[in-house]
Symmetry: C3
Subunit: 301 residues, 3 copies
């Protein structure tokens, strides 16, 4: 069986889309995780196979020492307790160690632009891998272009959140039993959610997927994603009717509707909350085998 050989986690260059295989012999090798479109469909499957082995690791067991001696730095330029602790607990659970930053800042904010690269150059000397969260789209890519160690993008502003998307398709496959041929409804704020962007990219790797976008006008899915899907031959549809979408889909994926995105238009915000939040009514029209996913409450049937 395949096994995780931490010595095999190596990265010396930023990988572009359609990265070559990360399997060298029986070793697991993966460079930076920056954006969901970098994966081909084999990579998630292999990651899930490793994840499945890891799920069986019990705490305090000899097997949980497979990352002993490895040091992960979590470089969070904006705080996210849950995301940061998810990475840190995984590392510690497997015997590794963590250098943590809850809210990294350096010197004057005016100079921040040039600082990220400098910080990366410094921190790569201290650790084996960097998990970073940043407020600016593209920050993870810049870090990866600088670093000689792997960078994992744990969210870069409105950009992407590829590891969350990996987890999401893992959940979808586990619940629905397949990824090819599924119909997925993305409902809510699609303009500001990096997770939903990464998920759309990732779904495009599978066969005959159909994606429905159902969102208030002010927070529609941006054109770059729509154009990407079209260019990859993925069928998608913009819908004004979340109920109809829900009745069609295998998966209804809810994103958070945030008041601050609506500015002064509290009326639009209230309307959006009424219409684009998955509630009992929406659950009622869904097919029996279908699942609803929510960033906080997890799965609902």
């Amino acid at each position: 069986t395949m096994r995780l050989s931490p010595r095999g986690i190596q990265c010396h260059a930023f990988e572009v889309e359609n990265t070559p295989s990360f399997l060298v012999g029986n070793k697991f090798q993966l460079d930076d995780v920056i954006e969901a479109q970098q994966f081909n469909r084999d990579i998630p499957n292999a990651i899930f196979e490793v994840a499945h082995e890891m799920e069986m690791v019990e705490k305090n067991s000899p097997r949980s020492q497979i990352l002993k001696g490895y040091l992960m730095a979590t470089l969070f330029y904006e705080p996210s307790t849950r995301t940061r602790l998810s990475f840190e607990s995984a590392m510690k659970w497997l015997g590794g160690e963590v250098l943590t930053t809850e809210n990294a800042r350096e010197f004057s904010s005016a100079a921040k632009g040039e600082m990220l690269e400098d910080t990366i150059r410094t921190v790569e000397g201290y650790s084996d891998i960097i998990v970073m969260r940043h407020s600016e789209s593209g920050a993870a890519r810049r870090a990866a272009a600088t670093a000689g160690i792997p960078i994992i993008n744990a969210g870069d502003g409105p950009g992407q959140h590829p590891t969350q998307a990996l987890l999401d398709i893992h959940t979808i496959e586990r619940e629905i039993g397949k990824l090819d041929g599924i119909k997925v409804g993305l409902v809510g704020d699609l303009a500001n959610g990096r997770t939903v962007r990464s998920l759309a990219y990732l779904l495009s790797k599978y066969q005959d997927v159909k994606i429905y976008f159902a969102s208030p006008d002010v927070v529609q899915m941006k054109d770059d994603i729509k154009e990407y899907l079209t260019s990859k031959g993925v069928e998608w549809e913009q819908s004004a009717n979340p109920m109809e979408v829900a009745s069609e889909c295998d998966v209804v994926y809810q994103t958070r509707i945030q008041r601050e995105r609506f500015g002064e238009r509290i009326d639009l915000y209230e309307e959006a909350r009424g219409k684009y939040i998955v509630d009992e009514d929406v659950l009622g029209v869904m097919q029996k085998h279908a699942v609803a996913m929510h960033p906080l409450q997890g799965l609902m049937r």
Copy 2:
């Protein structure tokens, strides 16, 4: 002898006052630590017995690995370096590991109300126990109602600070030699100190305790505590004269007088500082065997 069996630390429900015994066979079992009134008088004694064994653990010794493989999350919604590091050093000293948050924040503060439960639901998946500090009274209770792992309240706003109170009565017993029958003077700001509230609750578990409250008018001990003590048959007295209280008591417990509690009335603040701070004069009238306790300077005789 009793020993700490970490496997025995389990919690699957929020415990109300007069929790059943936490000793199952020779295992130490304790659910959430939320508020001082949850304890009966046997629990502190048993905790102190374990603490006494732990005090003899030397760093870097085989015995110091009794918490190896266990992960504690410190979820601090307001920073408190000293309190946080006290828990974290204890965990590391005994071989355990820590996931740390110095100043936990999530998303927009507007949505904070609903976030605590979500964060607890996430973090309980990553750790074996959660130590939390929060700015709102009742937050620890809400967390405990949500979590399937033990919650330790390390201070919830103006609410309680039960572990500090446990430490305080441990100190009192060690110094005075008993808890039943003691006279304790609580001096200073009694309205805003969660520690002094927890201490009053805890003292009510012992026989024939008498409590004196000596504080400026604007920061008197609140009625809920006074009513609780009365309902439990604990004698208490409000005094305007800290010197008189000091001469009567076995323990004089000083709390911090904070300028900001007096608003515009700097004159009242200055007066309070003169009158309600334990100084050489106060120490001078205390009985020979009595002790003064201060949140920062520790014991004074």
Copy 3:
């Protein structure tokens, strides 16, 4: 050969300048590291000898456990990701453990003055050594006067940054091959850089060193350093011409020019950037064996 015996790291008093030898038998002993002038010239050499041994420690090797069981607290009153992680990674690399504060704060800032000592008194009970960063000059000295465990000053406001200076002279010796008799040009903002102050103090310990100061008028090296150098017989010169300095020196040490130091005078800031930043032109006039050092980009030849 000399070896690091962690048990030998002890400190029970603040050490003044010209501290006695820290070698007791074959043990490495060093008290607080507060300011560069505390060292005689033997101490850096001995530290570098230990550092050289540590450089050969590979991660995950048995030798990397020499600090196992030791706990270092990083008490950072202002955030500095890079400096903090450098200490923490070193500790973890050698098998030690860390209690971390990214941005320590306690209670009201009004009371901050009296809080540092209180926090030190508490944290020294939890850890074996404290590494601290503070915004006020002299804070590390105050901490050391309070603590019974070693304090390492990782930067105290405009004061000093002695460990950075140690690293800098280590780099200079490695690159130039000697420290006695060298000519060092300090170029840029010399008024606000604590590192350059510590470096000047440390260079004064070596024979026949000559120091050139080249800086904009508003951020000249302060008189206390100039007077110290004169009192120690160290030759120094104030120069308005960075090019001339560069052509004379073995080492050109660049410090950051920060816009906020120039207030409204953007014109002076722009002029300073043009003149006092080490660029290709400056590198061009330097001698073949000479090196330029920069706080971020490291060495340039």
